[in-house]
């Protein structure tokens, strides 16, 4: 990283650095001094390393053999060889496989549900002056000011008979009012001429939403979908208080048992004691399983973050 930021080419060489090159400097700006550019590069590199180095250790250790790990005295920084044995063991059925599937299932169903409800209500509230518009908006907004509290919510979920069902992981926190407001603000920014002309051509609200509003809102829909999906994927608290059956637990909860309480996954204790499997590699492999989906998805949505964050309540 630092190598790239360090120097700006004096004269633009023939395709020297391609897309890494700096755009031309405005005439009034002074020549960048070397110490300044270097220190900027160093600080930025340190910040990026602070994020990447821990992840590197986790990934490398998860791919190391039992022998390499004991030679390194624990965590491995420089890989000596690569083995997928930890992943093979984890994903060949058993507790972690099931937990991963549970997490994937809850995330998928929950995100589809949350997005459907949020998009519909955001569109339903996007036309100012419609019947009940203000009342509905007030009902949603008020929840941003006063939280009911953990205990009454817990008692409610229990009385509805949702405990020990996956609905308890989805319904109580299915929608975020903030996300609805962001979607709504974006829908309202779509030029009314477009929707009006569709209405004149005889399109109803469902059709306008599906064929005009949604295709124009891909960016913000992508961001909000990511927010919801990450929320479901990362959640562990609701499972810890509403589920009692260990077989139903999602990946995050299994990870808590595994890493924080240092227990090997159910059925793998023997393989760790006698076989080629390292307990540490198994722990790290579970962490990689938990971070892989978000680490892959979020960069794709990155260019839209600004839009998704800022069209809502907070304006930059």
């Amino acid at each position: 990283m630092s190598a790239v930021t360090e120097e700006r080419p004096k004269a633009p060489g023939p395709k020297a650095s391609g897309r890494w090159a700096a755009p031309p400097r405005p005439v009034w700006e002074e020549e960048p001094n070397k110490a300044g550019v270097a220190s900027k590069g160093i600080v930025l590199s340190i910040a990026c390393l602070a994020v990447l180095f821990p992840l590197w250790i986790v990934v490398v250790t998860s791919l190391s053999s039992k022998q390499d790990i004991s030679e390194a005295g624990g965590l491995v920084v420089i890989p000596k060889g690569i083995t997928f044995i930890a992943y093979q063991e984890l994903l060949s059925g058993g507790q972690v496989t099931r937990a991963t599937l549970v997490s994937l299932g809850v995330t998928l169903v929950g995100t589809v549900f949350s997005m459907t409800v949020s998009i519909l209500s955001a569109y339903g509230l996007s036309r100012i002056g419609s019947v009940g518009h203000r009342w509905f908006l007030m009902i949603l907004l008020a929840t941003m000011f006063f939280g009911a509290g953990l205990i009454p919510t817990y008692l409610l979920v229990q009385s509805l008979g949702l405990t020990d069902t996956y609905l308890a992981l989805i319904l109580p926190s299915a929608i975020s009012v903030f996300n609805i407001l962001v979607l709504r603000a974006f829908f309202m920014s779509i030029s009314p001429e477009l929707t009006d002309s569709a209405r004149i051509d005889g399109a109803g609200d469902w059709r306008i939403l599906w064929q005009i509003v949604l295709p124009l809102s891909r960016a913000v829909v992508a961001v909000i979908t990511l927010f919801y999906a990450v929320g479901y994927w990362s959640a562990w608290f609701n499972a810890s208080i509403y589920l009692s059956d260990q077989d139903m637990m999602p990946l995050q909860n299994v990870m808590i048992q595994l890493v924080q309480k240092q227990e090997p996954p159910v059925g793998m204790g023997q393989a760790i004691k006698t076989g080629q499997l390292s307990a540490l590699a198994v722990q790290m492999a579970v962490m990689v399983l938990a971070l892989l989906p978000v680490a892959f998805l979020s960069p794709f949505v990155q260019k839209h973050f600004k839009k998704g964050m800022l069209t809502g309540a907070v304006k930059g």
């Binding site: 990283m1 930021t5 890494w20 755009p23 700006e29 900027k40 930025l44 994020v51 821990p54 250790i57 986790v58 005295g73 624990g74 965590l75 409800v117 519909l120 209500s121 339903g124 996007s126 036309r127 002056g129 419609s130 019947v131 009902i139 949603l140 929840t143 000011f145 006063f146 009911a148 509290g149 953990l150 205990i151 009454p152 919510t153 008692l155 409610l156 229990q158 009385s159 319904l171 009012v177 009314p192 005889g202 109803g204 609200d205 939403l209 990450v230 990362s234 959640a235 562990w236 208080i241 890493v259 924080q260 962490m287 938990a290 971070l291 978000v294 990155q302 964050m309 907070v314 930059g316």
Partner: protein, 364 residues
């Protein structure tokens, strides 16, 4: 379905460009309105009502018919919120009871049969030293987060903004945003691998003959640890808002001040920072409004490792007494105190935001 010739369709689309308030001032109504030029001071109340009706598109029944799809679309969200946010607010009555979970398996049936005790739970709480410890921990953590966390995204944003190579900017942003999407379980586990008793630092120290250490179980530095975890996870994400504010600064301002002889630092002081001021003020106000929330899941995950003395905050106090000790009424009372104080803080913070000329969570 809705035809352009019906007055409803025309009136319905007209105010969508205007603001939330539906006043018959914007044009685009039916022919009835064109005959009467709107004179807000001179018209009678009946006329005003008629005007409003025309702008809204007629009687309630016709408007209901016109908007039924919109209402239908909004209902699922409203229902979810009513059930999972509003009914529990009523459920807070357990704070004034001696709730007995053994009366019935159904929590709400049990509420109806539990004895009322008035404010007894509250007086118990105020005499509980553990509660005051939690209050103190909450405030210390909030101050630490404000002091050590808050400035970092601003500095990082200024730094990234001054890098002009687009690729460098994009790559470093992608890396710095990443931890925001990790779960707390993952973040804490990552910290354990670095600073824990079997972490990479302790491991390296031991290999070179020094003594290892375990920061993860040390109550003395726990609050700094929590703050550091927060910085690692969310400081990068916090950049976004500031970058957007920086991008909206007109380059002309920089050029003009450079012409007047302002160097790099003076331009930052006199152009860049004033541009950030409203955003900083707003975020500060919002954070203060949310002061009692200092990271429930994050702290709960580490509560066992360091013990409640250092780790108990208001939220975990509620969890411990309610979910763990099944003392529902006591925990609900503590939760209610937190909720009411938080509400006051949010409203006060918004008031301050409005006084400073900013838009808070809601419009004035």
């Amino acid at each position: 379905m809705a035809h352009s010739t019906t007055p409803g369709a025309a009136a319905r689309t007209a105010p969508s460009t205007a603001d939330d308030t539906v006043e018959p001032s914007a044009g685009g109504g039916g022919s009835t309105r064109a005959a009467k030029p709107a004179k807000p001071s001179g018209v009678s109340r009946a006329e005003k009502k008629a005007l409003k009706k025309a702008a809204n598109g007629g009687t309630l029944r016709t408007r209901l018919k016109r908007d039924r799809t919109l209402i239908l679309m909004t209902l699922p969200a409203v229902l979810l919120v009513l059930v999972f946010n509003y009914i529990p607010i009523l459920g807070n009555v357990v704070a004034f009871q001696e709730y007995d979970p053994y009366i019935s398996d159904n929590g709400f049936v049990a509420i109806f049969h539990s004895p009322w005790v008035g404010f007894e739970q509250f007086s118990r709480i105020f005499e509980d030293s553990a509660f005051w410890e939690a209050v103190q921990n909450t405030f210390v953590l909030f101050s630490l987060q404000l002091l050590l966390f808050f400035p970092i995204p601003i500095v990082l944003a200024l730094l990234i903004n001054s890098v002009i190579r687009p690729r460098v900017r994009a790559v470093s942003q992608a890396i710095l945003y990443l931890p925001h999407f990790f779960s707390w379980v993952l973040v804490i586990t990552v910290f354990q691998q670095i600073f824990g008793g079997a972490g990479i630092i302790a491991q390296t120290l031991r290999q070179h003959g020094y003594e290892g250490f375990d920061l993860m179980t040390d109550p003395g530095i726990f609050k700094f640890l929590v703050t550091a975890e927060g910085v690692w996870k969310d400081a990068g994400w916090g950049i976004i808002v500031f970058l957007a504010a920086l991008a909206s600064v007109s380059p002309d301002l920089y050029e003009a001040s450079a012409m007047d002889g302002a160097g790099r630092w003076r331009r930052m002081w006199h152009v860049t920072l004033p541009a950030l001021r409203p955003v900083i003020a707003l975020l500060l106000v919002l954070r203060v409004g949310d002061a009692l929330t200092v990271g429930f899941e994050q702290i709960l995950l580490q509560r066992d490792a360091v013990g409640p003395g250092a780790a108990e905050v208001l939220d975990t106090f509620v969890w411990w007494n309610g979910v763990r000790n099944q003392d529902f009424s006591y925990a609900a009372a503590a939760g209610l105190i937190k909720g009411v104080v938080s509400l006051g803080l949010v409203l006060a913070a918004n008031k301050v935001a409005h006084l400073m000329g900013e838009q808070g969570v809601y419009k004035k």
